[in-house]
Protein backbone atom coordinates (compact mmCIF):
# COMPACT_ATOMS: atom_id res chain seq x y z
CA UNK A 1 0.00 0.00 0.00
CA UNK A 2 1.45 3.33 -1.00
CA UNK A 3 1.33 6.14 1.49
CA UNK A 4 -1.23 8.45 -0.11
CA UNK A 5 -4.45 6.75 0.80
CA UNK A 6 -7.79 7.09 -0.75
CA UNK A 7 -9.18 9.33 1.96
CA UNK A 8 -6.63 12.06 1.30
CA UNK A 9 -6.97 12.08 -2.45
CA UNK A 10 -10.46 11.02 -3.19
CA UNK A 11 -12.68 13.96 -3.93
CA UNK A 12 -15.19 12.24 -6.19
CA UNK A 13 -18.82 13.20 -5.60
CA UNK A 14 -20.42 10.85 -3.05
CA UNK A 15 -22.96 9.61 -5.61
CA UNK A 16 -20.16 8.39 -7.88
CA UNK A 17 -18.32 6.85 -4.95
CA UNK A 18 -21.46 4.90 -4.06
CA UNK A 19 -21.93 3.87 -7.66
CA UNK A 20 -18.33 2.70 -8.04
CA UNK A 21 -18.44 0.82 -4.76
CA UNK A 22 -21.41 -1.16 -6.12
CA UNK A 23 -19.72 -1.58 -9.51
CA UNK A 24 -16.70 -3.17 -7.87
CA UNK A 25 -18.89 -5.97 -6.49
CA UNK A 26 -19.41 -7.23 -10.06
CA UNK A 27 -15.80 -8.34 -10.25
CA UNK A 28 -13.41 -10.40 -8.12
CA UNK A 29 -10.87 -7.57 -8.48
CA UNK A 30 -11.82 -3.93 -7.98
CA UNK A 31 -9.65 -2.61 -10.77
CA UNK A 32 -11.92 -4.23 -13.36
CA UNK A 33 -14.42 -1.45 -12.67
CA UNK A 34 -11.90 1.19 -13.76
CA UNK A 35 -13.00 1.68 -17.39
CA UNK A 36 -16.74 1.75 -16.61
CA UNK A 37 -15.93 4.21 -13.81
CA UNK A 38 -13.96 6.46 -16.17
CA UNK A 39 -16.98 6.48 -18.50
CA UNK A 40 -19.23 7.62 -15.66
CA UNK A 41 -16.78 10.33 -14.59
CA UNK A 42 -16.62 11.63 -18.13
CA UNK A 43 -20.42 11.71 -18.31
CA UNK A 44 -20.89 13.42 -14.96
CA UNK A 45 -17.84 15.67 -14.64
CA UNK A 46 -17.82 17.94 -17.66
CA UNK A 47 -17.44 15.61 -20.63
CA UNK A 48 -13.73 15.03 -20.22
CA UNK A 49 -11.26 13.49 -17.80
CA UNK A 50 -9.26 16.23 -16.13
CA UNK A 51 -6.00 15.48 -14.30
CA UNK A 52 -7.92 16.10 -11.04
CA UNK A 53 -10.57 13.56 -12.02
CA UNK A 54 -7.97 10.98 -12.98
CA UNK A 55 -6.24 11.55 -9.66
CA UNK A 56 -9.50 11.14 -7.76
CA UNK A 57 -10.27 7.93 -9.64
CA UNK A 58 -6.77 6.69 -8.87
CA UNK A 59 -7.46 7.41 -5.23
CA UNK A 60 -10.65 5.42 -5.27
CA UNK A 61 -9.02 2.41 -6.93
CA UNK A 62 -5.82 2.73 -4.90
CA UNK A 63 -3.75 2.99 -8.07
CA UNK A 64 -0.99 5.40 -9.01
CA UNK A 65 -2.43 8.30 -11.06
CA UNK A 66 0.02 7.53 -13.88
CA UNK A 67 -1.47 4.05 -14.11
CA UNK A 68 -4.97 5.47 -14.52
CA UNK A 69 -3.71 8.01 -17.05
CA UNK A 70 -2.07 5.16 -18.98
CA UNK A 71 -5.39 3.35 -19.21
CA UNK A 72 -7.45 6.43 -20.05
CA UNK A 73 -5.06 7.53 -22.80
CA UNK A 74 -5.29 4.13 -24.52
CA UNK A 75 -8.98 4.41 -25.29
CA UNK A 76 -10.26 6.82 -27.96
CA UNK A 77 -13.59 7.40 -26.20
CA UNK A 78 -11.87 9.12 -23.29
CA UNK A 79 -11.16 12.82 -23.71
CA UNK A 80 -8.15 14.09 -21.84
CA UNK A 81 -8.64 17.71 -22.87
CA UNK A 82 -11.67 19.94 -22.40
CA UNK A 83 -14.11 19.69 -25.24
CA UNK A 84 -17.20 21.49 -26.51
CA UNK A 85 -20.59 21.04 -24.94
CA UNK A 86 -21.69 18.65 -27.68
CA UNK A 87 -19.62 15.93 -29.30
CA UNK A 88 -20.11 15.22 -33.00
CA UNK A 89 -18.50 11.96 -34.18
CA UNK A 90 -18.47 11.38 -37.94
CA UNK A 91 -17.56 7.89 -39.12
CA UNK A 92 -15.05 7.93 -41.96
CA UNK A 93 -14.30 4.24 -42.39
CA UNK A 94 -14.83 2.27 -45.59
CA UNK A 95 -18.59 1.56 -45.57
CA UNK A 96 -19.41 5.18 -44.71
CA UNK A 97 -16.77 6.51 -47.10
CA UNK A 98 -18.33 4.60 -50.00
CA UNK A 99 -21.65 6.29 -49.29
CA UNK A 100 -20.49 9.87 -48.92
CA UNK A 101 -18.92 10.27 -45.46
CA UNK A 102 -16.67 12.99 -46.84
CA UNK A 103 -19.72 15.15 -47.70
CA UNK A 104 -21.17 14.51 -44.24
CA UNK A 105 -17.90 15.56 -42.66
CA UNK A 106 -17.69 18.73 -44.76
CA UNK A 107 -21.24 19.71 -43.81
CA UNK A 108 -20.65 18.86 -40.17
CA UNK A 109 -17.64 21.20 -40.19
CA UNK A 110 -19.77 24.00 -41.65
CA UNK A 111 -22.72 23.42 -39.36
CA UNK A 112 -20.63 23.17 -36.19
CA UNK A 113 -17.97 25.73 -36.96
CA UNK A 114 -15.25 23.18 -36.21
CA UNK A 115 -12.34 21.72 -38.10
CA UNK A 116 -11.95 17.95 -37.65
CA UNK A 117 -10.57 17.31 -34.18
CA UNK A 118 -11.35 20.89 -33.13
CA UNK A 119 -13.80 22.79 -30.97
CA UNK A 120 -16.00 25.64 -32.20
CA UNK A 121 -15.19 29.17 -31.03
CA UNK A 122 -18.44 29.37 -29.06
CA UNK A 123 -17.57 26.11 -27.27
CA UNK A 124 -20.76 24.50 -28.44
CA UNK A 125 -19.26 21.65 -30.50
CA UNK A 126 -16.27 19.41 -30.74
CA UNK A 127 -16.07 17.50 -34.00
CA UNK A 128 -14.14 14.26 -34.38
CA UNK A 129 -13.61 11.85 -37.23
CA UNK A 130 -14.02 8.39 -35.82
CA UNK A 131 -13.38 4.89 -37.06
CA UNK A 132 -16.19 2.42 -37.75
CA UNK A 133 -19.04 2.70 -35.24
CA UNK A 134 -20.98 -0.33 -36.46
CA UNK A 135 -23.64 1.42 -38.50
CA UNK A 136 -22.23 0.14 -41.81
CA UNK A 137 -25.53 -1.00 -43.32
CA UNK A 138 -27.08 2.42 -42.69
CA UNK A 139 -24.10 4.51 -43.79
CA UNK A 140 -23.24 7.32 -43.71
CA UNK A 141 -23.70 8.25 -40.08
CA UNK A 142 -22.77 10.61 -37.34
CA UNK A 143 -23.24 10.39 -33.61
CA UNK A 144 -24.30 13.47 -31.64
CA UNK A 145 -23.45 13.05 -27.95
CA UNK A 146 -23.39 9.30 -28.51
CA UNK A 147 -26.78 9.07 -30.22
CA UNK A 148 -26.57 7.59 -33.72
CA UNK A 149 -28.05 9.37 -36.73
CA UNK A 150 -27.88 6.89 -39.59
CA UNK A 151 -28.51 6.92 -43.33
CA UNK A 152 -28.17 10.71 -43.36
CA UNK A 153 -27.68 13.26 -46.13
CA UNK A 154 -25.63 16.47 -45.92
CA UNK A 155 -28.94 18.38 -45.49
CA UNK A 156 -29.78 16.24 -42.46
CA UNK A 157 -26.55 17.31 -40.80
CA UNK A 158 -27.74 20.93 -40.51
CA UNK A 159 -31.07 19.82 -39.08
CA UNK A 160 -29.41 17.52 -36.51
CA UNK A 161 -26.75 19.97 -35.37
CA UNK A 162 -29.04 22.99 -35.64
CA UNK A 163 -31.38 21.46 -33.09
CA UNK A 164 -29.03 21.65 -30.12
CA UNK A 165 -28.30 24.54 -27.82
Amino acid sequence: MHEVTHETRNNLPPTLVAEFTELCTHYPERRAALIPALHRCQEELGGWLSPETLEAVAGFFELEPVEVFGVASFYPMFHLRPRGKHLVSVCHNISCDLRGAQDILDEACKASGCTPGGTSDDGRFTLVRVECQGACTSAPMLALDGVYHEGITPEDVHRILGGVQ
Binding site: L98, S138, G146
Partner: protein
Protein backbone atom coordinates in the same frame (compact mmCIF):
# COMPACT_ATOMS: atom_id res chain seq x y z
CA UNK B 1 -32.14 -20.44 -53.28
CA UNK B 2 -33.39 -16.97 -52.46
CA UNK B 3 -33.85 -15.13 -49.24
CA UNK B 4 -37.49 -16.18 -49.08
CA UNK B 5 -36.97 -19.86 -49.79
CA UNK B 6 -34.47 -20.96 -47.14
CA UNK B 7 -35.41 -21.65 -43.53
CA UNK B 8 -34.52 -18.94 -41.02
CA UNK B 9 -34.35 -18.78 -37.24
CA UNK B 10 -31.81 -16.14 -36.14
CA UNK B 11 -33.81 -13.08 -37.13
CA UNK B 12 -37.36 -14.49 -36.92
CA UNK B 13 -38.17 -13.00 -33.53
CA UNK B 14 -36.54 -9.66 -34.30
CA UNK B 15 -39.38 -8.87 -36.71
CA UNK B 16 -42.00 -9.02 -33.94
CA UNK B 17 -43.28 -5.92 -32.20
CA UNK B 18 -41.48 -5.44 -28.84
CA UNK B 19 -39.16 -8.33 -29.69
CA UNK B 20 -36.73 -7.15 -27.02
CA UNK B 21 -39.13 -7.81 -24.15
CA UNK B 22 -39.25 -10.97 -22.06
CA UNK B 23 -42.96 -11.33 -22.67
CA UNK B 24 -42.70 -11.49 -26.46
CA UNK B 25 -39.56 -13.59 -26.23
CA UNK B 26 -41.14 -16.27 -24.02
CA UNK B 27 -44.29 -16.41 -26.13
CA UNK B 28 -42.04 -17.31 -29.06
CA UNK B 29 -40.20 -20.28 -27.59
CA UNK B 30 -37.69 -18.16 -25.68
CA UNK B 31 -35.92 -19.86 -22.74
CA UNK B 32 -37.53 -23.18 -23.71
CA UNK B 33 -34.16 -24.84 -24.31
CA UNK B 34 -32.82 -23.67 -20.94
CA UNK B 35 -35.97 -24.84 -19.20
CA UNK B 36 -35.74 -28.28 -20.80
CA UNK B 37 -32.11 -28.75 -19.78
CA UNK B 38 -32.79 -27.76 -16.19
CA UNK B 39 -36.07 -29.70 -15.82
CA UNK B 40 -34.90 -32.87 -17.53
CA UNK B 41 -31.51 -32.73 -15.86
CA UNK B 42 -29.29 -32.90 -18.96
CA UNK B 43 -25.65 -33.10 -17.92
CA UNK B 44 -23.21 -30.36 -18.92
CA UNK B 45 -21.29 -32.96 -20.91
CA UNK B 46 -24.41 -33.82 -22.90
CA UNK B 47 -24.83 -30.17 -23.82
CA UNK B 48 -21.22 -29.86 -24.97
CA UNK B 49 -21.55 -33.07 -27.01
CA UNK B 50 -24.65 -31.75 -28.73
CA UNK B 51 -22.92 -28.49 -29.66
CA UNK B 52 -19.90 -30.47 -30.88
CA UNK B 53 -22.11 -32.74 -32.99
CA UNK B 54 -23.98 -29.80 -34.47
CA UNK B 55 -20.77 -28.49 -36.01
CA UNK B 56 -21.43 -24.91 -34.84
CA UNK B 57 -18.45 -22.70 -35.63
CA UNK B 58 -17.69 -19.33 -34.03
CA UNK B 59 -19.19 -16.28 -35.71
CA UNK B 60 -16.63 -13.76 -34.48
CA UNK B 61 -14.23 -14.22 -37.37
CA UNK B 62 -12.03 -17.26 -36.82
CA UNK B 63 -14.71 -19.94 -37.26
CA UNK B 64 -13.37 -22.18 -34.50
CA UNK B 65 -15.66 -25.12 -33.56
CA UNK B 66 -17.64 -23.94 -30.52
CA UNK B 67 -18.19 -27.32 -28.85
CA UNK B 68 -14.49 -28.07 -29.06
CA UNK B 69 -13.63 -24.69 -27.53
CA UNK B 70 -16.04 -25.38 -24.66
CA UNK B 71 -14.46 -28.79 -24.06
CA UNK B 72 -11.07 -27.12 -23.52
CA UNK B 73 -12.24 -25.83 -20.14
CA UNK B 74 -10.56 -27.86 -17.39
CA UNK B 75 -12.54 -30.49 -15.50
CA UNK B 76 -14.38 -28.59 -12.75
CA UNK B 77 -13.95 -31.48 -10.32
CA UNK B 78 -10.18 -31.34 -10.59
CA UNK B 79 -9.68 -27.63 -11.16
CA UNK B 80 -11.55 -25.72 -8.47
CA UNK B 81 -10.64 -22.22 -9.66
CA UNK B 82 -13.36 -19.71 -10.50
CA UNK B 83 -14.20 -19.81 -14.22
CA UNK B 84 -15.71 -17.29 -16.58
CA UNK B 85 -17.56 -16.87 -19.82
CA UNK B 86 -16.77 -13.67 -21.68
CA UNK B 87 -19.12 -12.55 -24.42
CA UNK B 88 -17.28 -10.67 -27.10
CA UNK B 89 -19.72 -7.91 -28.07
CA UNK B 90 -16.93 -5.53 -29.08
CA UNK B 91 -18.08 -5.67 -32.67
CA UNK B 92 -15.72 -3.25 -34.43
CA UNK B 93 -14.38 -4.83 -37.62
CA UNK B 94 -15.27 -2.26 -40.30
CA UNK B 95 -18.36 -3.42 -42.18
CA UNK B 96 -19.64 -5.51 -39.28
CA UNK B 97 -22.87 -4.64 -37.48
CA UNK B 98 -24.76 -7.93 -37.07
CA UNK B 99 -24.33 -8.54 -33.33
CA UNK B 100 -25.81 -5.11 -32.80
CA UNK B 101 -29.10 -6.27 -34.40
CA UNK B 102 -29.29 -9.30 -32.10
CA UNK B 103 -28.52 -7.30 -28.96
CA UNK B 104 -30.94 -4.52 -29.79
CA UNK B 105 -33.83 -6.63 -31.05
CA UNK B 106 -33.55 -9.98 -29.27
CA UNK B 107 -31.36 -9.56 -26.18
CA UNK B 108 -33.01 -12.47 -24.37
CA UNK B 109 -31.84 -14.82 -27.10
CA UNK B 110 -28.28 -13.85 -26.21
CA UNK B 111 -28.93 -14.22 -22.48
CA UNK B 112 -30.33 -17.72 -22.95
CA UNK B 113 -27.30 -18.69 -25.05
CA UNK B 114 -25.00 -17.38 -22.33
CA UNK B 115 -26.83 -19.30 -19.61
CA UNK B 116 -26.68 -22.56 -21.56
CA UNK B 117 -22.98 -22.01 -22.24
CA UNK B 118 -22.35 -21.35 -18.55
CA UNK B 119 -24.34 -24.46 -17.61
CA UNK B 120 -22.32 -26.59 -20.03
CA UNK B 121 -18.97 -25.29 -18.77
CA UNK B 122 -20.04 -25.10 -15.08
CA UNK B 123 -19.51 -21.34 -15.05
CA UNK B 124 -21.24 -19.07 -12.55
CA UNK B 125 -20.32 -15.63 -13.88
CA UNK B 126 -20.38 -14.21 -17.39
CA UNK B 127 -19.31 -10.77 -18.63
CA UNK B 128 -20.69 -9.16 -21.77
CA UNK B 129 -18.04 -6.79 -23.12
CA UNK B 130 -19.97 -4.33 -25.31
CA UNK B 131 -18.17 -1.74 -27.39
CA UNK B 132 -18.63 1.66 -25.78
CA UNK B 133 -20.29 3.24 -28.83
CA UNK B 134 -23.19 0.74 -28.75
CA UNK B 135 -25.20 2.66 -26.18
CA UNK B 136 -28.60 1.51 -27.34
CA UNK B 137 -27.55 -2.15 -27.57
CA UNK B 138 -25.99 -1.88 -24.10
CA UNK B 139 -29.18 -0.45 -22.61
CA UNK B 140 -31.34 -3.09 -24.28
CA UNK B 141 -29.23 -6.00 -23.00
CA UNK B 142 -28.93 -4.43 -19.53
CA UNK B 143 -32.72 -4.06 -19.35
CA UNK B 144 -33.20 -7.65 -20.51
CA UNK B 145 -30.82 -8.87 -17.80
CA UNK B 146 -32.94 -7.11 -15.18
CA UNK B 147 -36.12 -8.65 -16.62
CA UNK B 148 -34.53 -12.10 -16.61
CA UNK B 149 -33.34 -11.64 -13.03
CA UNK B 150 -36.83 -10.74 -11.84
CA UNK B 151 -38.21 -13.85 -13.58
CA UNK B 152 -35.62 -16.08 -11.84
CA UNK B 153 -33.99 -16.84 -15.19
CA UNK B 154 -30.79 -15.43 -13.81
CA UNK B 155 -29.14 -15.36 -10.40
CA UNK B 156 -29.46 -17.99 -7.69
CA UNK B 157 -31.16 -21.33 -8.32
CA UNK B 158 -32.42 -20.54 -11.78
CA UNK B 159 -36.01 -21.79 -12.30
CA UNK B 160 -35.76 -23.67 -9.02
CA UNK B 161 -32.78 -25.75 -10.12
CA UNK B 162 -29.35 -26.05 -8.51
CA UNK B 163 -27.86 -23.95 -11.32
CA UNK B 164 -26.87 -20.39 -10.36
CA UNK B 165 -25.34 -17.86 -12.70
CA UNK B 166 -24.77 -14.10 -12.91
CA UNK B 167 -24.34 -12.00 -16.03
CA UNK B 168 -22.62 -8.61 -15.85
CA UNK B 169 -22.46 -5.91 -18.48
CA UNK B 170 -19.13 -4.23 -19.17
CA UNK B 171 -18.58 -1.21 -21.41
CA UNK B 172 -15.51 -0.85 -23.63
CA UNK B 173 -14.11 2.52 -24.68
CA UNK B 174 -13.54 2.51 -28.41
CA UNK B 175 -10.47 0.37 -29.05
CA UNK B 176 -10.72 -2.16 -31.93
CA UNK B 177 -7.96 -4.26 -30.43
CA UNK B 178 -10.23 -5.15 -27.51
CA UNK B 179 -12.17 -7.38 -29.92
CA UNK B 180 -9.10 -9.63 -29.84
CA UNK B 181 -9.87 -12.05 -27.03
CA UNK B 182 -6.77 -11.54 -24.93
CA UNK B 183 -6.81 -7.76 -25.48
CA UNK B 184 -10.42 -7.88 -24.38
CA UNK B 185 -9.55 -9.70 -21.18
CA UNK B 186 -6.80 -7.20 -20.35
CA UNK B 187 -9.29 -4.40 -20.94
CA UNK B 188 -11.92 -6.10 -18.80
CA UNK B 189 -9.35 -6.27 -16.01
CA UNK B 190 -9.07 -2.48 -16.19
CA UNK B 191 -5.87 -2.21 -18.20
CA UNK B 192 -4.71 -1.05 -21.62
CA UNK B 193 -6.01 -3.51 -24.23
CA UNK B 194 -2.68 -5.13 -25.00
CA UNK B 195 -3.11 -8.65 -26.38
CA UNK B 196 -1.29 -11.40 -24.49
CA UNK B 197 1.04 -13.91 -26.10
CA UNK B 198 -0.61 -17.32 -26.58
CA UNK B 199 -0.10 -19.88 -25.08
CA UNK B 200 -1.32 -19.88 -22.38
CA UNK B 201 -4.80 -20.01 -23.89
CA UNK B 202 -7.83 -18.52 -22.12
CA UNK B 203 -9.26 -21.93 -21.16
CA UNK B 204 -6.27 -22.43 -18.84
CA UNK B 205 -5.30 -18.84 -18.07
CA UNK B 206 -7.92 -16.25 -18.94
CA UNK B 207 -9.60 -13.48 -16.95
CA UNK B 208 -7.60 -12.89 -13.75
CA UNK B 209 -5.63 -16.00 -14.68
CA UNK B 210 -8.68 -18.24 -14.33
CA UNK B 211 -10.21 -20.66 -16.87
CA UNK B 212 -12.16 -18.57 -19.37
CA UNK B 213 -14.05 -19.06 -22.62
CA UNK B 214 -14.60 -16.15 -24.99
CA UNK B 215 -17.52 -16.45 -27.42
CA UNK B 216 -19.04 -14.07 -29.95
CA UNK B 217 -22.64 -12.84 -29.59
CA UNK B 218 -24.01 -14.57 -32.71
CA UNK B 219 -22.28 -17.82 -31.76
CA UNK B 220 -24.05 -17.95 -28.40
CA UNK B 221 -27.27 -16.85 -30.05
CA UNK B 222 -27.22 -20.06 -32.13
CA UNK B 223 -26.93 -22.28 -29.06
CA UNK B 224 -30.54 -22.33 -27.73
CA UNK B 225 -31.85 -23.16 -31.22
CA UNK B 226 -29.50 -26.13 -31.49
CA UNK B 227 -30.52 -27.38 -28.03
CA UNK B 228 -34.17 -26.95 -28.87
CA UNK B 229 -34.19 -28.41 -32.38
CA UNK B 230 -31.23 -30.78 -32.47
CA UNK B 231 -27.93 -31.21 -34.28
CA UNK B 232 -29.55 -32.86 -37.28
CA UNK B 233 -31.83 -29.88 -37.86
CA UNK B 234 -28.82 -27.58 -37.59
CA UNK B 235 -26.85 -29.57 -40.13
CA UNK B 236 -29.74 -29.49 -42.58
CA UNK B 237 -28.74 -25.87 -43.23
CA UNK B 238 -25.43 -24.61 -44.63
CA UNK B 239 -22.63 -26.90 -45.79
CA UNK B 240 -21.07 -30.02 -44.31
CA UNK B 241 -18.14 -28.14 -42.78
CA UNK B 242 -19.94 -24.85 -42.17
CA UNK B 243 -23.46 -25.77 -41.01
CA UNK B 244 -26.23 -23.41 -39.99
CA UNK B 245 -27.28 -19.94 -41.00
CA UNK B 246 -25.13 -16.84 -40.71
CA UNK B 247 -25.88 -13.15 -40.48
CA UNK B 248 -24.37 -11.21 -43.33
CA UNK B 249 -24.13 -7.44 -43.08
CA UNK B 250 -23.82 -6.11 -46.60
CA UNK B 251 -22.78 -2.47 -46.99
CA UNK B 252 -21.29 -0.05 -49.50
CA UNK B 253 -22.53 0.38 -53.06
CA UNK B 254 -25.71 -1.73 -52.98
CA UNK B 255 -29.37 -0.86 -53.44
CA UNK B 256 -30.54 -2.26 -50.10
CA UNK B 257 -27.78 -2.52 -47.52
CA UNK B 258 -28.75 -4.52 -44.46
CA UNK B 259 -28.21 -7.50 -42.19
CA UNK B 260 -29.54 -10.70 -43.77
CA UNK B 261 -29.81 -14.27 -42.53
CA UNK B 262 -28.59 -16.79 -45.10
CA UNK B 263 -27.36 -20.38 -45.01
CA UNK B 264 -23.59 -20.76 -44.96
CA UNK B 265 -22.37 -21.70 -48.43
CA UNK B 266 -24.76 -19.37 -50.26
CA UNK B 267 -23.02 -17.67 -53.17
CA UNK B 268 -21.90 -14.10 -52.63
CA UNK B 269 -23.76 -13.21 -55.83
CA UNK B 270 -27.05 -14.35 -54.32
CA UNK B 271 -26.47 -12.21 -51.23
CA UNK B 272 -25.59 -9.23 -53.39
CA UNK B 273 -28.47 -9.63 -55.83
CA UNK B 274 -31.31 -11.32 -53.95
CA UNK B 275 -30.80 -9.83 -50.50
CA UNK B 276 -29.24 -6.45 -51.24
CA UNK B 277 -30.88 -5.73 -54.60
CA UNK B 278 -27.62 -5.70 -56.55
CA UNK B 279 -25.03 -2.99 -57.13
CA UNK B 280 -26.68 0.40 -56.75
CA UNK B 281 -27.62 2.83 -59.50
CA UNK B 282 -27.35 0.12 -62.15
CA UNK B 283 -23.57 0.25 -61.99
CA UNK B 284 -21.10 -2.58 -62.44
CA UNK B 285 -19.32 -4.37 -59.62
CA UNK B 286 -15.63 -3.56 -59.31
CA UNK B 287 -14.49 -5.18 -56.07
CA UNK B 288 -15.93 -6.75 -52.93
CA UNK B 289 -14.81 -7.66 -49.47
CA UNK B 290 -16.32 -10.93 -48.20
CA UNK B 291 -16.07 -10.83 -44.43
CA UNK B 292 -15.04 -7.53 -42.89
CA UNK B 293 -12.14 -5.19 -43.64
CA UNK B 294 -9.40 -7.69 -42.75
CA UNK B 295 -10.48 -10.26 -45.34
CA UNK B 296 -9.24 -8.25 -48.31
CA UNK B 297 -10.50 -7.20 -51.72
CA UNK B 298 -11.73 -9.71 -54.28
CA UNK B 299 -12.36 -8.89 -57.94
CA UNK B 300 -15.84 -8.87 -59.49
CA UNK B 301 -15.01 -12.11 -61.32
CA UNK B 302 -15.05 -13.96 -57.97
CA UNK B 303 -18.53 -12.89 -56.87
CA UNK B 304 -19.74 -16.46 -57.52
CA UNK B 305 -17.74 -17.73 -54.52
CA UNK B 306 -19.60 -19.56 -51.77
CA UNK B 307 -19.83 -17.78 -48.42
CA UNK B 308 -18.29 -20.48 -46.25
CA UNK B 309 -14.99 -21.01 -44.48
CA UNK B 310 -13.40 -23.40 -46.99
CA UNK B 311 -14.37 -21.65 -50.23
CA UNK B 312 -13.11 -18.26 -49.10
CA UNK B 313 -9.95 -19.71 -47.63
CA UNK B 314 -9.21 -21.28 -51.02
CA UNK B 315 -9.61 -17.83 -52.56
CA UNK B 316 -6.93 -16.57 -50.10
CA UNK B 317 -9.54 -14.69 -48.14
CA UNK B 318 -11.73 -15.51 -45.13
CA UNK B 319 -15.37 -15.68 -44.14
CA UNK B 320 -14.42 -13.48 -41.18
CA UNK B 321 -17.45 -11.82 -39.64
CA UNK B 322 -19.49 -12.26 -42.83
CA UNK B 323 -19.52 -8.51 -43.46
CA UNK B 324 -19.65 -7.97 -47.23
CA UNK B 325 -18.56 -4.58 -48.53
CA UNK B 326 -19.37 -3.78 -52.15
CA UNK B 327 -17.40 -1.35 -54.34
CA UNK B 328 -18.90 -0.27 -57.66
CA UNK B 329 -17.04 0.81 -60.80
CA UNK B 330 -16.72 4.41 -59.56
CA UNK B 331 -14.80 3.43 -56.41
CA UNK B 332 -11.04 3.67 -56.08
CA UNK B 333 -9.59 0.55 -54.44
CA UNK B 334 -6.40 2.43 -53.53
CA UNK B 335 -8.35 5.03 -51.57
CA UNK B 336 -10.36 2.30 -49.85
CA UNK B 337 -7.17 0.46 -48.90
CA UNK B 338 -5.65 3.69 -47.63
CA UNK B 339 -8.68 4.12 -45.38
CA UNK B 340 -8.31 0.58 -44.05
CA UNK B 341 -4.59 0.96 -43.55
CA UNK B 342 -5.09 4.20 -41.65
CA UNK B 343 -7.65 2.39 -39.51
CA UNK B 344 -5.21 -0.41 -38.62
CA UNK B 345 -2.49 2.16 -37.93
CA UNK B 346 -4.84 3.95 -35.55
CA UNK B 347 -5.89 0.73 -33.82
CA UNK B 348 -2.49 -0.95 -33.50
CA UNK B 349 -1.77 -1.26 -29.78
CA UNK B 350 1.91 -0.62 -30.40
CA UNK B 351 3.40 -3.63 -28.65
CA UNK B 352 4.93 -5.25 -31.75
CA UNK B 353 7.13 -3.16 -34.02
CA UNK B 354 6.10 -5.09 -37.16
CA UNK B 355 2.55 -3.93 -36.61
CA UNK B 356 3.16 -0.49 -35.09
CA UNK B 357 5.65 0.60 -37.75
CA UNK B 358 4.29 -1.57 -40.56
CA UNK B 359 0.80 -0.10 -40.46
CA UNK B 360 2.26 3.43 -40.49
CA UNK B 361 4.45 2.63 -43.48
CA UNK B 362 1.60 1.01 -45.39
CA UNK B 363 -0.53 4.10 -44.83
CA UNK B 364 2.26 6.39 -45.92
CA UNK B 365 2.92 4.47 -49.14
CA UNK B 366 -0.76 4.12 -50.01
CA UNK B 367 -1.28 7.80 -49.34
CA UNK B 368 1.46 8.84 -51.72
CA UNK B 369 0.21 6.50 -54.45
CA UNK B 370 -3.34 7.84 -54.12
CA UNK B 371 -1.92 11.35 -54.03
CA UNK B 372 -0.09 10.83 -57.35
CA UNK B 373 3.39 10.69 -55.85
CA UNK B 374 3.82 6.93 -55.92
CA UNK B 375 6.66 5.06 -57.58
CA UNK B 376 6.46 1.76 -59.44
CA UNK B 377 8.73 0.20 -56.81
CA UNK B 378 6.04 0.98 -54.23
CA UNK B 379 3.92 -1.92 -55.44
CA UNK B 380 6.51 -4.52 -54.54
CA UNK B 381 7.35 -2.55 -51.43
CA UNK B 382 3.73 -2.89 -50.27
CA UNK B 383 3.91 -6.67 -50.76
CA UNK B 384 7.24 -7.01 -49.06
CA UNK B 385 6.13 -4.88 -46.12
CA UNK B 386 2.96 -6.89 -45.71
CA UNK B 387 4.98 -10.11 -45.83
CA UNK B 388 7.23 -8.74 -43.12
CA UNK B 389 4.25 -8.07 -40.87
CA UNK B 390 2.40 -11.40 -41.07
CA UNK B 391 1.58 -14.21 -40.63
CA UNK B 392 2.81 -15.31 -37.27
CA UNK B 393 5.22 -12.43 -36.67
CA UNK B 394 3.32 -10.57 -33.96
CA UNK B 395 1.48 -11.26 -30.70
CA UNK B 396 -1.98 -10.99 -32.24
CA UNK B 397 -3.54 -10.95 -35.69
CA UNK B 398 -3.98 -7.18 -36.13
CA UNK B 399 -0.87 -7.10 -38.34
CA UNK B 400 -2.41 -9.91 -40.41
CA UNK B 401 -5.61 -7.89 -40.67
CA UNK B 402 -3.66 -5.07 -42.32
CA UNK B 403 -1.42 -7.34 -44.41
CA UNK B 404 -4.16 -9.50 -45.96
CA UNK B 405 -6.04 -6.67 -47.69
CA UNK B 406 -2.72 -5.12 -48.79
CA UNK B 407 -1.68 -8.38 -50.49
CA UNK B 408 -5.12 -8.67 -52.06
CA UNK B 409 -4.90 -5.16 -53.51
CA UNK B 410 -1.54 -5.82 -55.14
CA UNK B 411 -2.68 -9.26 -56.35
CA UNK B 412 -6.04 -8.29 -57.84
CA UNK B 413 -5.78 -4.55 -58.53
CA UNK B 414 -2.19 -4.14 -59.64
CA UNK B 415 -3.38 -2.39 -62.82
CA UNK B 416 -5.15 0.27 -60.82
CA UNK B 417 -2.11 0.82 -58.60
CA UNK B 418 0.14 1.12 -61.67
CA UNK B 419 -2.24 3.56 -63.32
CA UNK B 420 -2.06 5.81 -60.25
CA UNK B 421 1.72 5.87 -60.52
CA UNK B 422 1.80 6.28 -64.31
CA UNK B 423 -0.67 9.16 -64.40
CA UNK B 424 0.63 10.80 -61.26
CA UNK B 425 -2.90 11.12 -59.90
CA UNK B 426 -5.93 9.08 -58.93
CA UNK B 427 -7.38 7.87 -62.25
CA UNK B 428 -10.89 7.34 -60.87
CA UNK B 429 -12.84 10.50 -61.80
CA UNK B 430 -15.38 10.28 -58.99
CA UNK B 431 -12.91 9.46 -56.22
CA UNK B 432 -12.56 12.20 -53.63
CA UNK B 433 -8.80 11.60 -53.75
CA UNK B 434 -6.57 10.73 -50.83
CA UNK B 435 -8.33 9.85 -47.61
CA UNK B 436 -9.02 12.82 -45.37
CA UNK B 437 -6.58 12.24 -42.56
CA UNK B 438 -2.97 12.61 -43.67
CA UNK B 439 -0.79 9.91 -42.15
CA UNK B 440 0.89 11.05 -38.96
CA UNK B 441 4.60 11.37 -39.33
CA UNK B 442 6.17 7.95 -39.01
CA UNK B 443 9.15 7.33 -36.83
CA UNK B 444 11.15 6.33 -39.91
CA UNK B 445 10.80 7.70 -43.44
CA UNK B 446 9.99 4.93 -45.91
CA UNK B 447 12.35 4.85 -48.86
CA UNK B 448 11.48 2.87 -51.95
Amino acid sequence: MTRESHPTYLLDRTRLHDSHTLDVHRKNDGYRALETILKEGHSPEQVIDLIKNSGLRGRGGAGFPTGLKWSFMPDANKDRRARYLVVNADESEPGTCKDRVLMEEDPHGLIEGILIGCYAMRIRAAYIYVRGEYRFAYDRVAAAIEEARRANLLGKNILGSTFSCEIWMHKGAGAYICGEETGLMESLEGKRGHPRPKPPFPAGFGLWGQPTTVNNVETLFNVPFILDRGAEWYQSMGTENSPGNILIAISGHVERPGVFEVPLGISAREVLEDCAGGVWKGRRLKAWIPGGSSTGFLPASEIGLAMDHESLKNARSMLGTGAMIILDETACTVRSMEILSRFYEHESCGQCSQCREGTQWLTQILHRIENGQGRMEDLDLLSSLASGMAPGKTICALADAAAIPTHSLVRHFRDELEEHVRRGCCPVPSSPGPAAAPPRSPSVEVKA
